[in-house]
Amino acid sequence: MDYKIIIIATVVLGIIGLVSAVILYYIAKKFRVEEDPLIDEVAELLPGANCGGCGYPGCKGLAEAIVKAGSLDGLNCPAGGSSTMDNIAGLLGLSADATEPKIAVLRCNGTCELAPAKSLYDSALSCAYANTLFAGESGCQYGCLGCGDCVTVCQFDAIYMDPETKLPTVIEDKCVACGACVKACPRTLLELRNKGKRGMRIYVACSNQEKGGVARKNCSVACIGCSKCVQVCPHDAITVNNFLAYIDFNKCKLCRKCVEVCPTGAIHEVNFPPRKPKQQTEEVNSSNESLA
């Protein structure tokens, strides 16, 4: 008796399975969507983080766009960088635009110490919300709110909140310049800038558009729009609009003259070797060269 039940069950289930398999097979044949196999191959080469930095919904979206367009003009994977684009170009037999590697840079330096808090924020931990409620703990309406919307949005764990300064810090090796943080910041404090030679770059770490005196009331390292950097820059890379200096990274030749002249220290230099020894070695080098 017991055997029979088991056999019947197995046979019935087996038949159902077989019939379904046949139906599925025919449906799969009949409604097959023809897709360019290249799309999958290109998608394979992309990082697969679906960060959206390219402007398409996910890596597959970009792959489709690339294959459809048949060229790489204007299509770029910021996360993968030039090596990924070279690989794709190689696969498709195209040539990729040479793009400079970029990195997200915070244009605010209002740390707890330099821009002391006048009020305390105790609500939903979201910059988007804090922005609707008040100007910021320091009182600067252009500065970082410190709630970390950029940190939560980063897919690559490339930003963390520094507990001491209460400012987001970008980890250079991890940032792929997908631009997600730029979009997330309600005050657009983050900017994608050229990474620069050996990571050396100069930027204005302030976004305050108020008159100098007003800006300095809330933050001691605010850009006051004095234009000293504009005068000293030999490459015309700096412009001042609304009492705020901006350095064009395409024109900047990293001479660091503006950093020296800035009265508030709003202009930052990153990854430069220490100043004094470097100048000396340069001199030594040049003298050596001249000797040679």
Partner: protein, 450 residues
Amino acid sequence: MNHLLKMKRMKTFKIGGIHPEDNKLSKGVEVEVFPLPKQATLFVNQNLGAPSTPVVQKGDHVKVGQLIAKAEGFIGANIHSPYSGTVTKIDPVADFMGYKRTAIEIAVEGDEWMEHIDTTPELKKEITLSKSEIIDKIKECGIVGLGGACFPTHVKYMIPENKKVDYLIINAVECEPYITTDHRMMLEKAEECLVGIEALLIASGAPVALIGIENNKPDAIAHIQELIKDHPKIQVHPLKTKYPQGAEKQLIHALTNRVVPSGKLPIEVGVIVNNITTCYAIYEAIQKNKPLIETHLTVSGKSLENRKNLRVRLGTPLREILDYVGIPEDTGKVISGGPMMGKAIANLDTFAVKGMSSILFMNEKESKRGETINCIRCGKCVLGCPMRLEPYLLAPLVEKKDYEACEANGILDCIECGSCSYNCPAFRPLLDLIRVGKGRTMAMIRNRKS
């Protein structure tokens, strides 16, 4: 027993609602006129809608009641000088949130009024103006809803041709804890308010005006009931105390049992709602030609000893008011407006604006939020919501940035009363998130249209 039966018959709204401690600590304090400051600053954006454009220049001499900023756009309100003196600056100044906004600074010299304003205190009962003249006067005098939203009042009376007003509702509910200005207004200036209501009856063409007062103000109810014997078109309705009864839609439901459809204005169901203090401002405007240059402020708090109801000229520095009452030592937070819907003042160096109805001092313990823990779907937020929304669902949707789903779940109907956050045993910032979501959802809808 009789008393209980009376309670039972009392009206209120049916859905949701909460019962916060009412803390009307300053209800026995008479309204005091706050002295003129030496220096005053008036923001040009004091109403819902477009900011007004300044019509004075630096160095101009102004008198009390003189127009200094003209309304812009359809939803806008005029601003008049509350002082006589010289305009010293027109510059961005930090408002209570800390954001810089254009403001007119006046150095106060004496108290010289415009000639056409009647400054005598006597009551003028007879209304000589016609319907359109009343509305024009309200518009000219820059009157906005003084319940807190600052919606320009004249816009409410631009009634579409196919609509008829069945009820004029006067909001004297004052459901927010602590605030007592409307209460004092009803006790001290009731007759003036009633004349204002008569004028609004003419302006709206409504056959009847209903004054809704919560039953935690029995003296005000009795006083107004006594006075309306001369006003056959005005009725007083005591309401069962429940927050947020003072919200427009809830009050309409409580008094007329009508439900304003989602996304529509009260005029859709033939109702116009005005605050009682606005009625007083309207009385002053049409009978005395006095524009809106003052605001009534409750200054209160549990630790504050010197609680006050003040009549303050617009543009008075908050610091002067704070110094006048003395900031309690254990203050953790200063709030503009009620504790439920008001906003914490991030910048105390700012100035009084239209519709600022109270300054509250919360002590350190009251002002801190509890530690947020996980939602256990207890549904207390749903129970409290007067708009039949599900805050436990909306808040995570906002966190996930699914604004389509937010819209489908009626996030735009939220009246931001804060009942959900008040009820939440896990101290989740529900309203905070819903507010973000509302803004984003509206932006999404605007984008879709364009």
